[in-house]
Symmetry: C2
Subunit: 233 residues, 2 copies
DNA sequence: TCAAAAGTGTTTCTGCTACACCCATGC
DNA sequence: GCATGGGTGTAGCAGAAACACTTTTGA
């Protein structure tokens, strides 16, 4: 038991890091951002951007700061996905990490650039990810799980989509996130009936494909009413 | 950015603690275990049992060890509920905590005894909790939320109940956890139809009340089938 | 003219909700 | 005999699932 010190300062302390699993959607597939590590350990391996907690910031602030420094991104939505503290997870010594998941809009993905710690910075479709450094494969699994929870409970899906989007796009997003097929008619019916989507007069930007799809915008007010009705437990 | 050191050892480190929100059910109400702090800060205040992370253990191991040391309990089910890292959360200096929620069976609750760090150790119905030390009120809110998730997604409710239990008991548990009323008939119908309960020939232990309630046992196999059917997203 | 993509409606089933009466026991 | 607690069934409704055809455009 910890009885030796009168103050916390006397206790052993681990190094504490934060890691970021950033998701984006390119209209077809769900992607995650990886950096190629520029220094050991795991030099040249792909990993999630992250770094050490500083003294004057919370863990969430650290996650945002590291993400900004290492990739230039500033996500709107960011949630904690959990801690990882296996004794041997970092060959340099004992570190624990608190991992965060976040999402960026399609327009932001080109802003991602490799910071000083990284040789490279690249978006990978989640089904084509390379082997990851440390225990980042575990972190990814939990991040995907938390993304699903976020999409079910909160309007996170719309932070992954452009300001206006089509229902087929949205359905492809759901297909990738939940790793299953949805019936096109039921999918459309459900979300159109929910009131969380407002059709938007297409600026005729694209008439490329056959039978141009209708564009929608997220309707926050409608979403609130929908959520109020649904939230029982 | 953290570029100064080659090794993690050179970075600033926070003190890291774990905290435990332990739930139990006494047949009528959901309770949480609090200790009265025996030393500053917040001496004589009620708080969740917890303590500092040691070098040779994971965070979850630390949570279990501290719980054992401070209260004598060894919960079967324990999940992480999140991190708390506000700069001023501990007047002694910068600490971050990783909080865990756990449940113990009714038979175990009498085993809870105050360890060295605590003057007292007591179960409180969740609606009658005293003011808490640190940011433990925030921790409690998130713990209750995670308990709900656990009960919805996993058979956590049955780890809060005795080996055999009645449906009215189970319903009281749900009422407290989800803070809402359930229709008795619908509640029974739902769980009896689920296949996760097996009636057990009452040993005639109690015929106290009018119309002695039927005792059930958790049926793991039935639960698995039920969950398989339900798990869609 | 054919393939690809997207729009649309109906039916069925299942799960959830609401709701009332009877029985046994203890006081 | 009455209050308490616990057992049981039915009918309505809403959300999910299954399912096929038509339209437009580009190759």
């Amino acid at each position: 038991m910890n009885k030796k010190g009168t103050f916390s300062y006397n206790y052993w302390r681990p190094a504490v890091t934060v890691d970021n699993v950033v998701f984006s959607f390119d209209g077809t597939h769900l992607n995650v951002l990886l950096i190629r590590r520029g220094r050991p350990p795991f030099k040249d391996c792909w990993a999630f951007p992250g770094g050490f907690l500083d003294e004057q910031e919370t863990l969430e602030e650290a996650a945002r700061r590291e993400l900004k420094e290492e990739t230039g991104l500033t996500p709107k939505y960011l949630i904690e996905i959990g801690s990882f503290s296996a004794l041997d997870r970092d060959p340099r010594g004992r570190t624990i990490t608190i991992a965060y998941a976040s999402v960026v809009r399609p327009g932001q993905t080109e802003n991602a650039t490799a910071g000083d710690d990284a040789d490279d910075c690249q978006w990978f479709p989640i089904v084509e990810m390379p082997p990851l450094a440390f225990d980042h494969a575990d972190i990814f699994q939990k991040a995907l799980f938390m993304l699903r929870i976020g999409i079910i409970r909160d309007p996170v899906a719309f932070m992954l989509l452009d300001d206006t989007f089509t229902l087929p796009e949205m359905q492809r997003l759901y297909t990738d996130v939940f790793n299953r097929e949805f019936d096109r008619r039921n999918f459309q019916k459900k979300f159109l009936a929910s009131g969380m989507l407002s059709p938007v007069r297409s600026n005729d930007e694209e008439k490329k494909s056959a039978h141009a799809p209708i564009h929608y915008r997220f309707n926050e007010e409608g979403y609130m009413q929908f959520k109020e009705k649904v939230t029982k437990c």
